[in-house]
């Protein structure tokens, strides 16, 4: 009975609009959800392919029986596994001898990514070991060239003779930033043993690699595994190693994607909440009538709940279709620029979430509202002016179930307690702030002397300042909307600054290592003769850090030994010694994070610049005194600044940088880089002839892979920001639309009083623009603050303000809002004003 009643009573036009607006908001969420999931999995795939595996357990000795048992226990949680062993060896060909990395691969190799061969093409993951049988080897192309080997050539390695089966053009197991000195030769695991090079005294790495479902879980899994091993010689490494720059960026990106889903969730919830609120406000009178008609309070409130649930239910399939259209549209737009080949489909879980938000959300949000009506006298409700329901503590408490629902949803969306927590907290704070600021703003408007204004403007001021919490609700909704839609572009700007694609022209092609002091001038001249230039020449001085502010830095092993693995690892890290460099000025890839530049005054104590993350890890503060031991000589320095180094410049980077004038006479070597040039092979040849100690490291494939990942990350950031921006505007539009729809009758009334449409439009426009401008300004202002906090908490540091989206969001809100006034409520403009004679307000 109630259901029939509820259905019959639905006001068709308003309901259609309500459903449409709700569906629009939800479709935005669906689109974001869908892209997030696709981007995440695609990026994950990409990253894992680059890293070659998700998890690796390695040791420089064979695993013990006990260890193998522990390992096989873990193996159950992984998708697939493989193993390899690698060792360096000197290989003698007919032409010359070379240092080579020999890699014996086990079944299922590689677990991630693919090996690209010159002749056989792409060997997919897991397939290599089946092909690399008998006495076949695969050899990296440049190495083959150096050793003068062809496909089919034979090569003796250790005690065994092999046949070159193919050349390797791309190897997934080349890790992202590690530099290897030598070329690689692949063979089967058994064959590597057959060479007899693997003996007890040999230096060999035994590695087991694993593929897992989600690469982000690799680090926690690695930590968990680590606890099972007591011997520090067992190393467990996650591919998404948080310590590596690429790993760090990937986890940032995952956080960013989580945040974008959260933002979309809140944007569409905000839209929905605003819609529910206005809808319920409209229902108050009907609610009173029902009570007068003899419905019990319970029955009376169940009618609007049934109605709102029905409408929300209708919105879900509609939002699905809209999302489908939006995704088609976005796909069409990005087709030509999509580097990731992402596969887009709306996940069932996303549909479930939209259902949850629309149905549970609407019901939970209406409860406190309907509860607040309980105290109202039906007679009062029947009067012509709906007095706004009064809120008290209990009604506010009734919002808690809704809040819990959103907290749970946020947790699901962010997939991280930390992000969801910080996000919710800052959102609560922002809402409170906006309510306060909105209240202040509206009170301020009351004080504006409007008497001298033209009537439409005067009326606009009067409306805003007098219509109390209606304006406040709109103000807060717009401010939060603008805040949310600005948050991602702001964070994007900061993250983007970090992974900004470097100027390709300035990228080094080769690193030169171990240039001796007496060689450096000669090397510079040689490179110059070959029409190239040795750049970023950095002296390198080996030192040990003895103390920080007189507190001993290095960790001695005491009689009882190291108590834990962590303690031992920490000791090893601290006792490793440091490479110092010195120069007075920062490079273009460096910037001062905090502190001051070196001043060139001659002080007794050297000034030191530290890399910011390094300082953080060692807990060093500005002003600290560091005491180094440089081969028997102690040297003190004061930390005057922390630097950030843009790692995407792929330049040699030093954690510790001294000012000039202190280290010049210490024993040192030099590093430098050379840009790609035609003469590079010649330079290489000459260098190895004249200065065989200098290692020339080819960075080409490392940098290419890095750049590829960078551009993909960039692309993800941009796409998500744009989609969220789009969602935000859709929500703001639906709020604006709802707002003007609610007041359509006023247009008719004013017209019947003789006002021109133009004047009415001016009034509305002033109203809306004032509201949007102030709310937008506040929202975008707070978005800077919040994104600063978020990037401080999650993205450690780099913060850049993006002014374009800020200005754009305020401007677009204004323009779009006004557009809605003309188009959205065009209905009421077009209509003959006699509506007002027929329709009650």
């Amino acid at each position: 009975m109630l259901l029939r009643h509820a259905w019959k009573e639905l006001e068709k036009k308003f309901s259609i609009l309500f459903v449409l607006n709700l569906a629009l908001g939800l479709s935005g969420l669906l689109a974001v959800e869908t892209y997030r999931a696709s981007l995440k999995s695609s990026l994950q795939e990409n990253a894992q392919n680059i890293l070659g595996a998700d998890l690796a357990i390695s040791a420089r000795r064979p695993f013990t029986q006990n260890e193998i048992e522990i390992i096989s226990e873990f193996q159950k949680n992984t998708l697939s596994n493989s193993e390899f062993i690698e060792t360096y060896s000197m290989i003698q060909s007919n032409k010359e001898s070379r240092l080579v990395l020999l890699k014996g691969i086990g079944a299922n190799f590689p677990v991630r990514g693919f090996i690209e061969l010159h002749k056989k093409g792409v060997i997919e993951s897991g397939k290599a070991s089946a092909i690399l049988t008998d006495n076949k080897i695969w050899i990296e192309s440049p190495l083959a060239e150096q050793l003068n080997l062809d496909i089919g050539s034979s090569l003796k390695i250790g005690d065994k003779v092999f046949i070159v089966d193919d050349f390797i053009t791309s190897d997934p197991t080349q890790s992202f930033r590690s530099l290897t000195l030598s070329g690689r030769i692949f063979m089967s695991l058994e064959n590597l043993y057959h060479t007899k090079l693997i003996r007890p005294e040999s230096t060999v790495s035994f590695v087991k690699v694993y593929k897992i479902q989600n690469y982000l879980e690799a680090q926690p899994l690695a930590d968990q595994w680590s606890q099972k091993f007591t011997d520090p010689s067992i190393r467990i490494r996650a591919a998404s190693d948080a310590a590596s720059d690429s790993g760090r960026m990937l986890s940032y990106l995952a956080d960013f994607l989580g945040l974008s889903a959260l933002v979309a969730l809140f944007l569409s919830s905000l839209g929905a909440a605003y819609l529910f609120r206005t809808w319920l406000l409209k229902r108050t009178k009907v609610f009173a009538i029902h009570q007068v008609l003899g419905f019990s309070y319970k029955q009376a409130i169940s009618i609007p709940i049934i109605q709102i649930t029905l409408l929300s239910l209708l919105a879900v399939p509609l939002s699905y279709s809209l999302a489908f259209l939006e995704i088609r549209l976005i796909n069409l737009l990005i087709q030509s620029i999509n580097p990731m080949n992402i596969n887009i489909s709306i996940a069932p879980i996303s549909i479930l979430i939209t259902l949850l938000i629309s149905i549970l959300g609407s019901t939970l949000l209406s409860v406190p509202f309907l509860f607040s009506l309980r105290t109202q006298n039906p007679k009062e409700l029947l009067s012509n002016f709906i007095s706004e329901p009064k809120w008290n503590i209990i009604t506010l408490l009734l919002f808690i179930p809704a809040l819990i629902l959103f907290a749970l949803l946020s947790l699901y969306e962010a997939q991280s307690y930390r992000i969801a927590g910080v996000f919710l907290a800052s959102l609560l704070f922002s809402s409170a702030f906006f309510f306060g600021a909105g209240y202040a703003f509206l009170s301020l408007l009351k004080k504006v002397p409007t008497v001298k204004f033209a009537w439409p403007i005067r009326q606009a001021f009067l409306y805003l300042s007098r219509s109390g919490h209606r304006s406040l609700a709109a103000f807060s909704a717009i401010a939060i909307g603008v805040l949310l839609l600005n948050l991602l572009p702001q964070l994007r700007a900061s993250l983007s600054a970090e992974i900004e694609n470097p100027d390709q022209k300035n990228l080094p092609a080769f690193f030169l290592f171990d240039i001796q002091q007496d060689q450096i001038d000669e090397v510079i001249r040689l490179v110059k003769e070959k029409k190239s230039k040795l750049e970023n020449i950095s002296p390198m001085v080996r030192a040990r850090l003895l103390s920080i502010n007189d507190e001993e830095f290095e960790r001695k092993k005491r009689a009882e030994g190291f108590q834990t693995r962590e303690e031992e690892n920490e000791a090893r890290f601290r006792n490793r010694g440091f490479n110092l460099s010195y120069r007075n000025n920062l490079r273009s890839s460096e910037s001062i994070h905090s502190g001051v530049e070196f001043n060139h005054s001659k002080e007794e104590i050297a000034q030191i610049s530290l890399e910011q993350r390094f300082a953080k890890r060692l807990n060093i503060n500005l002003g600290d005194i560091l005491k180094f031991d440089i081969q028997g000589v102690e040297l003190q320095g004061r930390v005057v600044n922390f630097r950030t180094v843009k790692w995407t410049s792929f330049q040699p980077n030093f954690f510790v940088l001294f000012q000039e004038g202190f280290l010049e006479d210490a024993p040192q070597i030099f590093l430098g880089s050379i840009m790609r040039s035609k003469e590079i092979e010649e330079i290489r040849f000459e260098l190895s002839r004249l200065y065989p100690n200098i290692s020339v490291i080819d960075l080409k494939s490392t940098i290419e892979k890095g750049l590829d990942l960078l551009s993909k990350m960039q692309w993800c950031l941009n796409l998500m920001s744009i989609i969220v921006l789009f969602t935000g505007f859709v929500v703001l539009l639906s709020i604006a639309n709802q707002q003007s729809e609610l007041r359509a009758w006023e247009v008719s009334l004013l017209q019947s009083l003789g006002a021109h449409k133009k004047q009415i439009f001016i009034q509305r426009s002033v109203e809306f623009s004032l509201l949007c401008f102030c709310a937008g300004l506040l929202g975008s202002g707070l978005s800077i603050f919040l994104s600063w906090i978020i990037s401080w908490i999650f993205f450690e540091g780099t913060f850049v303000i993006a002014f374009t989206p800020l200005a754009l969001s305020v401007a677009l809100t204004l323009i779009l809002g006004n557009l809605v006034l003309t188009l959205g409520s065009s209905d009421s403009w077009r209509k003959q004003p006699n509506e007002v004679l027929n329709n009650p307000s």
């Binding site: 012509n384 007098r466 003789g754």
Partner: protein, 221 residues
Amino acid sequence: MSLNVTQLEKNYFQGEKKISILQDLQIKVSQGEVIAILGQSGSGKSTLLALLAGLDIADRGQIYLNNFPVHEQKNEALTQWRAKNVGIVFQQYHLLPHLTAIENVLLPLEILEVKNRNEIAANLLKDLGLEHRLNHLPRQMSGGECQRVAIARALATSPSLLLADEPSGNLDSDTGSIVMNAFFNQVRKTKTTTILVTHNKELADQCDRKYLLEKGFLKEI
């Protein structure tokens, strides 16, 4: 002749089907005359008012107000004309909820940029017995008071034609008669040509002439 309406016709279409609301309607009202139009609900009273107010456009026919051809006007001009010449009292008052009584009355005067409007509005409200309610918001007033504010608003610009649509329809009979007394007093005093649409015979009896709108035809009774 203040108002002269001839051959007025208005139809609505329900799909293919034409529904005649008003047919060949004629009416002449002299300056200061108060006319009542009676009729069942749905007889087209509101449509007639809308046409007269220039809020709707007739399919055929002429409307002259003080020899001004209302039917020939387009939107812009119509709006301007209406602002100066027509006052409307609605059944649902239609007061702007965020404006006080006097601000509601001031609104049409502001639109017309009338000078000493505060005085006009205050006097009008005083005449209607609302001097103690000037700065009250609609929700702080009773229905009767609201309707009297609405009447003041309609009369504020001293319109040539006052149209009233069931002004007491929403009020109980006691309040209704207080409001209507005030209404009649005011229109008589200002000698405003008035058309009152009602289904209340007693109210109609207080008017100078009565018409009945039935099946689209208007006849004097």
